[in-house]
Structure formats: structure tokens, C-alpha cells
Symmetry: C2
Subunit: 277 residues, 2 copies
Amino acid sequence: MYSIGEFSRITGLSIKTLRFYHEQRLLVPTKVDSGTGYRYYAPQLVETARIITRLRDLDFPLAEITSILAEHNDDADIIEYLERHRAVIEDRLRQYRSVSKALEQIISNEREARQTMNDESFDVQEKTLTPILVAGVRMQGKYSDCGQGFSQIGKAFGFRICGKPMMLCYDSEYRETDANFEPCMPIRKGESVGGVNVRELPGGRAVTVLHRGPYNQLGRSYAKLIDYVKTHGWTIQSPTREVYLKGPGMIFKRNPEKYITEIQMLVEADDVKAPVS
Amino acid sequence: MYSIGEFSRITGLSIKTLRFYHEQRLLVPTKVDSGTGYRYYAPQLVETARIITRLRDLDFPLAEITSILAEHNDDADIIEYLERHRAVIEDRLRQYRSVSKALEQIISNEREARQTMNDESFDVQEKTLTPILVAGVRMQGKYSDCGQGFSQIGKAFGFRICGKPMMLCYDSEYRETDANFEPCMPIRKGESVGGVNVRELPGGRAVTVLHRGPYNQLGRSYAKLIDYVKTHGWTIQSPTREVYLKGPGMIFKRNPEKYITEIQMLVEADDVKAPVS
DNA sequence: CTTGACTATCCCGTTGCTGGAGGCCGTAAC
DNA sequence: GTTACGGCCTCCAGCAACGGGATAGTCAAG
């Protein structure tokens, strides 16, 4: 017969835990001194304690352990318990996996944006865009409705999305209503499905500018770009693109003054014509 | 201003939860009627509630959310929080993964054993063994000490183990003490390291028998096998093998009467000699 | 007899809520 | 007038699996 302290040292279970297990009738001492209330454990209980710790290590709830101990004494008998429990664990695993993925998404998003901030200036730049596969939804109406398009793409392509959301603008002038545009997302792979159109955007020579601030002030940056293109005597190819590098955050809505958008225009460098002054 | 019920329907947070968040100073109503104690929420708080649910979905503890809300208002500012939290999540993920793996191990173990039970009889069988890569520890002493050998192998090769534990017996007679044997485990790949010897066991023609019961009664099954070999006039090749198909369980020690061991003896079918009657 | 190690019970705190009891208030129906 | 109902309030309990701490009784040795 061991005292609770001895039994604790033998089994590695704390005294508190042993008392708690006693209260829960999970591991009842062989004898309790009726005078002093002292608990005494027989050596056979060491084995029971070992089983309990094994099952606890496997994250079984105490109630389940109690019933397992009461009814079974062979691994083969408890396969059903193990299976059921594994399903529970797998469930939590799935949950945590998706949380972890979401966290990673947000972090890398912000990291990237931070990089862009450091690396790039807010002047007009000339770039060569590479062709890119996108899924898009052609829409007509107000620009502010593009959110619906994005959520439609998100639902259809989810994890295949591999870049920042962007919008193609087919109008050559600014339109408050009845605008002709196409929210789209870069994807890894995929086929067009009901309403969502998959295709490759062409690459080529382009001029770009970073715009910082709310979307209703995009006009200024457009002006910068158009001026630049004009002075070089180039021709803008429709559609122009807006890439939303930093918009409303995943968590905070974020201050619109911090939004960062890249405007891209593919240009045709018409070498025959001379630059217009 | 919304009443708590309205606000609950808008945000999807239960009334109880809203009261709790108030108590925790996480989401404090704009105004509390001093007479009735009624809580009233301003429309801006809808956004705050959205942020809270977002962070809760990411499994942030309430205390952390409180401090995030108090100090920040942009995703970029809370990257450190996100990172730290992701570490926590990854930790739990690792834990659950290992639990899930252990559960799977136990389950498949018992499944396999159950299969063996159904498929095989307890009569002597002739088989052709295929060569198999094992890690073993040569030992001298009492058979009951083989556990140490197994744990040594387990430590060295862990996840590369791919089969049931077995023992090679090099003695041609039974020895209580000073026996010459080698606990070993099938592995997928590996090199010999300090004390643990990796090599391929040869395949070939063999006779086997399943033994059910405690190890100290293995003698009976050995007798069966040896009789069988003798009647065919074959020669037993050393070492003989014991495969512990079902020994003490992973959780319960299990009743030794349920232990199942396969004894394997490679034989040389000496076709020149005629069978001994 | 004292000292120090050991043990006992009881209560609280953890996390993020949910459920229930009991009570206040105002409105509508009978 | 009263009863019912709906919405709100506060306070208390409970979940899981213990750990911490207070206070008091017990055991064996010196």
C-alpha cells in the first residue's frame, strides 16, 4: 500500500490530480482511512494509473476513460472508442489547419505589401508584364459592386487563387454608373465555370504607378500615367488594370488613406511616330 | 442605437455573449440606461463586433483581442500578434498530429491482428518468406530482457519501423539464462548505428505456426513445429524467429492468454534424403 | 514535546461562454 | 383589472481538468 505522495512519485500524477481522479471515481484508492481520511493505493493500481496516463496522452476525456476502464481490458475491445476519438481529433486538426492557413495568408499578405512599400516608389514606372492566368467576372454597373464579383470568384476557385485581386477597366472614360469592368484574381489553374471566366491576360510593355489613398482619388494617379504615356507618344491598350495591393484588411477595415493600388496600362510603343511634345 | 437584441441579430453574437463581452470590457455598449440597465449599441460598434468575430474565428483569446483593439487599427500593425498566435496554433497542430498518428498506429495494429486471427489457423503452415530488412540488437542473457533491445531500436529508428517486433533465437536448445538472441524490428531503410545492427534477413522456404497464449508456453508450439519438420526430414536453419503479432497492448497490458506469436523456421528441404518416418 | 514532512478539505481561478431562476417594464388581449 | 407575452436585467451554476493557496489534522523522528 502506497500513500498518496508515494503513489504520485511512482505514477507521475500530481497529488492534486490523484485526489481529483478519486473524486471523479476514475482511480479510487484501495483504502481510505476512515479516521484521518488518508488515501492508500495498492500496487495493482499503478497499472491502472499507467493506462489512464496513456489514454490521457491520447487526449481522451476523463469520462470516456472511466467507461473504458469499467468495461474493457484489452486494446482490441476499445477500437471503436479509438476510432470515434480519432474522428474528434481529426476534426480539431482540420480546424486548426484552416486557422493556421488563414493566419499565414494574412501575414504573408501584409509582408508582401510592406515589401512593396519599401521597394517601390510612387513614380511612374515602365515594366514588362508577364502573361498571367486569371479568373474574372465581367460586370456592368457601379465600380463599388465589384465585391460581389470577387466573392463569386473566391467561392469558385478558393485555394487556387495565387495573387492579389485586380480589376480590368474596359471604359476609355470614367463612368460613375454603367461602367464596364471585370474583377478578377490570378489563379494557378482552372476552367471557366458558370459566370466565371478563366483566361490568360497578355503580357508586354506597360507603364504603372502606385496609388496611395482612397479609391475615389484614383483619378490623380490616372492623370500621372496618361500624361506620361502621352509625352512618349504611346497608345494605351484596353483594358487597363488596377491591382489592389493593399485594400481593406482581412481583419481591420483599415484607413483608406493607407490603401495602395497599382494601376497598369499596357502600351504600344509606336516607334514609327515621333513622341509628341 | 440598437438594443442588445437588435445588435445581436445584426452581429450574429448571442445576447449572452454580448453581455459577457461587456463585462470583459471587450465590447462596451455606447450607452447604458442608468434606470433600467438596458444596453444600447451605436452602429459603429457593428464594425468592432465584426473585427472581434474575425479574430475569434482565428482562435485569438479574448484578452489578446482586447489589447489588439485598444492599441491598433490596421492589419499591418498586428503582424507580431498574428505571428505569435500562429506559433501557438502550430504547436497545438503538432500535438494533435502526433496524437492522431498514435491513434492510427494502435488502430491499425489491432485491425491487422484481428485479420490475422480470422485468416490464419493455428496449424503448422508452409510458407515462403521474403527477405526483409531489419534493425536488431544482439543480446545475451534472459529472454525477458529483450524489452530493452526493443526500446533501443525504437529510439534509434522510430518512425522508420514498418512491421511487428520479432526475435531471432540463435540457441538450438532452450536456455533459461545466458540465452543468445536478438530482438529486431522490420524497418524501411537505415544504416547500422552504435549497437543497433541493420541487415537483411534472408527469405526462403519456411514452416510457421501461430501460438496463442503466454510466452512461457511457447514450448508446445515449438514442439509442433519441430515434429512437423522432422516428419519431412528437413533441416532447421538457425536462427529461428518469433514474430510478436499480438503481445501486451499499447494501452492495456492485455491478458497473456490472448497473446499471439508466430514462430518461423527456415528449413532446408534436403531432397536427397527420404523423409524419416 | 517539538519539528518538519505529509495529508486532508474547501474554495477560487482558469477559458468562453450557455442555461436557468427570478425580477422589472411596457404593451396588448381578454 | 388582470393576465400573458416579449424583451431586458442581474446573479448563480456549470462545463474540463486540473493548479494554487489557506487552514487544519497526522505521522515519524529526534
